[in-house]
Symmetry: C2
């Protein structure tokens, strides 16, 4: 059984940012990598993924550009901004705290 989406909610943006910290990437690949790393227990549905991208872009946490593939389907790349790196750090810290707090409530 894969992870309920309500448990992921609030972390999707952070997860996407995480995959952009090292290098630029694109939607399809990000999704595949997440599935590979979690043995398909976490999967961002593509509608969810793309709506997250719009949100991140609007907030200035990522920028985007079209790749110039001369073969295959076009790719839209995403790049994390400085603001995005900061947000990532904060989100991660908040996640650590939330984890701890929730754990303290679950006997």
């Amino acid at each position: 059984m894969s992870i309920a989406s309500d448990l992921l909610r609030g972390n999707t943006d952070t997860i996407i940012l995480a995959s952009l910290v090292e290098h630029d990437s694109y939607g399809y690949l990000i999704n595949k990598e997440i599935m590979a790393k979690t043995e398909a227990q976490i999967e961002l549905k593509d509608a969810t993924l793309y709506s997250a991208f719009r949100r991140l872009e609007k907030e200035g946490l990522v920028t985007t550009y079209w790749g110039n593939e001369d073969v295959g389907a076009r790719r839209r790349y995403y790049s994390i901004t400085e603001k995005g790196r900061e947000a990532y750090g904060q989100n991660k810290a908040e996640w650590q705290k939330a984890k701890q707090m929730i754990d303290s409530l679950l006997v």
Copy 2:
């Protein structure tokens, strides 16, 4: 800064069930205890709390009865059912797994 509600979502029902595992309780007290235990970093807004109760009741995870206070405001008590205990165990297990998976994605 308190914990973003999207990080709690998916855990609110579990948190409520947790506070009913040891003994019956009522909304106002459950809320106070959660705030006390987390130094007010987690707070279920009462609209959230009561809608969660309706949900848990509908799913047969809790039962409810009116307390017979002869003084002060009336209290509606909640009692966890056997089904509720099972759900609690499963939710907790899923939370453990989700934690692990999310952590594996956040570099």
